[in-house]
């Protein structure tokens, strides 16, 4: 295969683009700027850690089933772990959002990072909502019958039927986690490619200009 043909291939373009924008030194850095030494910069990775616990405990729940997590002690524990890791996931994500909002984290060509973060937040709300609908208890029954009126009133009840347990459980354990996973992966890769946003009053050491 000649070099000219190789240049035209999408694999070649992707490889070159990746190497240019996200070399391995950026993807797996061992140092960070001095301003990152603050507690406020920890909430993004805390959110990721909570997401890891959510996925792990959710996998156990899906393998063992509702009769296990409703009636056994270990099932109660894993069910509670899934619930509380979601609570902390949202708490960490909201504090992360507040921190990034007040430091205007979309600066420095980071708009797509901000947008993917917003999409992850909205997608997480949808995922958590479907989780509440598939608890298989009176709580989920109450929530679904209250929510159906809202969805019907905006005309999407026939496609997104919150009282359809089969649809909600598949959305919760298959479709939405994949969406959240992909958005989160893109978000993290963008953070690595663009670097952590500096404080608003930080100076660019090389250029002597504000970032």
């Amino acid at each position: 295969m000649s070099a000219d043909i190789e240049k035209e291939m999408w694999t070649s373009k992707l490889r070159k683009g990746w190497q240019k924008n996200l070399p391995i030194e950026k993807l797996l850095p061992d140092t960070q700027p001095a301003y990152v030494a603050s507690w406020i910069y920890l909430f993004g990775v805390a959110t990721l850690a909570a997401l890891g616990v959510i996925v792990a405990s959710g996998l156990v729940l899906s393998f063992e089933g509702a009769s296990w997590y409703h009636y056994s002690s270990v099932g109660h524990f894993v069910n509670s772990m899934h619930f509380w890791s979601v609570q902390f996931f949202f708490i960490f994500m909201v504090v992360h959002l507040w921190g990034k909002f007040w430091m205007a984290a979309w600066r420095g060509r980071r708009l797509l990072t901000w947008i993917t973060g917003a999409l992850a937040f909205v997608g997480s709300i949808a995922t958590a909502f479907t989780g509440y609908l598939i608890q298989t208890n009176f709580d989920s029954q109450w929530i679904s019958y209250e929510a159906k009126d809202g969805f019907n009133s905006v005309g999407i009840g026939s496609r997104f039927n919150v009282t359809n347990f089969g649809q909600m459980i598949l959305l919760h354990v298959a479709f939405l986690p994949v969406i959240i996973g992909v958005i989160t992966l893109i978000h993290v890769l963008l953070v690595r490619a663009k670097g952590v946003v500096p404080p608003i009053d930080a100076f660019n050491n090389e250029l002597g200009e504000r970032k």
């Binding site: 140092t31 001095a34 030494a37 603050s38 507690w39 909201v94 504090v95 921190g99």
Partner: protein, 55 residues
């Protein structure tokens, strides 16, 4: 199951200010996040010494 289990099964208590209504639980969660945000801004980070030459 104990006190905690009993507490988790109680009916939610709501507070009102005119048109605004919120459960005590949700209010506590929001206050917790605000406190966490404030502490993250003011608490010193371990190993972050001013003047230290960091990359």
């Amino acid at each position: 199951m104990g006190i905690f289990h009993h507490f988790m099964n109680l009916k939610a208590v709501y507070i009102h200010w005119g048109w605004f209504q919120i459960s005590i639980t949700n209010l506590l969660v929001i206050l917790f996040m605000l406190v966490l945000f404030g502490l993250a801004l003011v608490l010193p980070f371990p190993g972050n010494k001013k003047g230290k030459d960091q990359k």
